[in-house]
């Protein structure tokens, strides 16, 4: 059995998540379509990036994959086991999460030791001494020291706090770590440190990562595969090198050209997107991107395109 045939560590099929919006007693509520039929799979030891802007549904997707949120329809399989209400608790140690704002994700009233001990207390039978040992080891591995365990989160800088959050995520040695914009709130030089830490962890433990980001330059470095989302739908999926070499969806093209690059505006022809992101409450019937797409025509507005796989590069566009 070759490496290609190893079962993916996470498989998601047709995930849909809608929120009911109540507009008071006298007005008809609407539905917020946060996710619409999103499918993806994650191979062991690899990194999948989920790219999108606000309203794309990437954070909702992250929460669903982390089993924090329950999808309305669709299936989720982790390490081969289907996820349902009964086995969530057992599957928890396999999937952990790192959040965007490091200081908000650490309980301000708990010491670092207590924060790191929590996953161990809930999921393992280690005693206090063993826990302390594990916590010390984990702190060392993320570049801090065991003495930091007795301090409170607010006494750390942003980068250090994110290291603590990563330590917490890794302390159960999960198979999958979902990182939701883990470096967006950090300075460039700290971002570099944290990204290095992630790759170090992947090399050491073989953890699979799902990296949610809007920063394509970061994605290009860390991801093996990329999934581009727009307004709750997956519109393009490919390996990183393929996506950057030959992007096919007009939105991906626009995204790539908008990413600020060193060296001035003259270097890349910027594709101007018309208009603003439409509200996720009023998702258009046809292609979600039609309203802003420079290539859209009548057909696009009426018919939603399906995700057409072509090898490992799938696109959801009539024009691609």
């Amino acid at each position: 059995m070759g490496a290609n045939e190893m079962a993916p560590v996470l498989v998601a099929k047709d995930l849909t998540r809608r929120y009911r919006i109540r507009r008071g007693w006298f007005r008809k509520g609407g539905h917020l379509n946060a996710l619409r039929n999103v499918s993806l799979d994650l191979e062991e030891g690899k990194t999948l990036a989920i790219v999108g802007e606000s309203g794309s549904g990437k954070s909702t997707l992250a929460r669903v994959l982390a089993m924090v949120d329950v999808p309305d329809t669709g299936h989720l399989h982790i390490a081969g086991k289907p996820v349902n209400i009964d086995n969530r608790k057992q599957l928890r140690p396999l999937v952990q999460m790192v959040f965007q704002n490091p200081s908000a994700s650490l309980n301000p009233r708990k010491t670092v030791a207590a924060i790191l001990a929590e996953p161990l207390i809930v999921n393992t039978t280690l005693n206090r001494v063993e826990r302390r040992k594990r916590i010390g080891e984990m702190l060392e591995q993320v570049g801090l020291s065991a003495e930091h365990a007795n301090r409170y989160p607010h006494t750390f800088s942003g980068g250090q706090a994110q290291r603590i959050a990563i330590a917490r995520a890794m302390i159960l040695r999960p198979k999958i770590v979902i990182a939701d914009e883990p470096t967006s709130a950090l300075d460039v030089s700290i971002q570099a440190q944290i990204l290095n830490l992630f790759s170090d962890i992947q090399n050491r433990y073989g953890t699979s990562f799902i990296f949610v980001s809007h920063d394509l330059s970061v994605v290009r470095r860390v991801a093996d595969e990329v999934l581009v989302m727009y307004l709750g739908s997956a519109i393009e999926q490919a390996s990183t090198s393929e996506l950057f070499r030959a992007p096919r969806h007009p939105y991906t093209l626009a995204l790539l050209s908008s990413t600020p690059r060193m060296g001035g505006t003259g270097s890349i022809e910027r594709i101007q997107l018309e208009g603003e992101l439409p509200s996720p409450l009023e998702v258009p019937t046809g292609c979600v991107f039609a309203k802003r797409c420079p290539q859209a025509d009548g057909h696009c507005v009426q018919m939603p395109p399906a995700l057409e796989p072509r090898g490992r590069h799938s696109v959801s566009c009539h024009k691609a």
Binding site: E53, S54, S157, G158, G159, D187, V188, S189, I190, Q191, A192, Q193, L195, N196, S199, D200, H214, D215, L216, S217, V218, R220, R221, A254, L255, S258, T259, P260, R261, M262, G263, G264, T265, R270, Q272, L273, G275, E276, L277
Partner: protein, 324 residues
Amino acid sequence: MSLLEINNLHVRFGAGATAFRAVQGLDLRLEVGETLGIVGESGSGKSVAMMALMGLIETPGQVTAERLAFVGNDLLCARPAARRRMIGKDLSMVFQDPVTSLNPAYTIGSQIVETLKTHAPASRRAMKVRAEELLAAVGIPEPKARLAAYPHQLSGGLCQRAMIAMAIACEPKLLIADEPTTALDVTVQAQIIDLLLELQVRHHMGLILISHNLAVVSQIADRVIVMYAGEVVEEAPARTLFASPKHPYTAALLAAIPENNPIGAPLYSLPGLVPGNLERQANRCLMANRCDRVREECLLERPCLAMDADGRIVRCIAPLNGGQ
């Protein structure tokens, strides 16, 4: 006469010897129509310096400077009323998070009208018409309808455009934009940057752009200042700075950008942390504990911002030779 002249600006929080030195000896000069980029990470003092210029620093912060002049008018000795007249009309600021920078209890239209009322009062109808013009000028679709919108009803990009509309309402001579695009999506970022450029050209405004995103700054700045731990460490024309940085910190910032690192190898990263209060009082180079080119002389005294052999302004006793 320069548009803006700042000499030896110091901003301290607290009193006495243990005061936190947020800005240490900043010199800055801006000409009419010029775009200056101020680059730095957290703790560099870039935002604090601009807030000091606008008079937004309150106790326990203390602002001292040898000279703080705007269009030749001395801001230091100006009384609060005189200062307020200058600021807001000729000198405007746009902040990072547009949604929280706007008052959530008032419509966009009324907030713009309030700005106009303070600095360029006219009849109500005239001001409303002007507000609509401004919204159109910043590219907000359906400006008339948007006048009645509340900030929470608009997306981040639209809110930022509205903020910019408020800032240019009185045709300022200088616009300071503090991380205007950091809270926005990438595609919207690009639009806002284009908008700022366009407005600057159209109104012949001076523009100061503060950002930690070097790519954004490299796109629109003529000249760039790099700040570290409250000090200016390098100053140069944008193209020159990014092509051949002289100060090790500038080089480190550029090197840490994911684009500038080959895929597969770890990203270059600067070890250590930004100096805290105690370190800033020491008489040595503030980068010494993180610099890989550090020598003995770096620990003996704080280097001055001076011109080096190639005519470049840098605060380092052993600056890099271009193309490092």
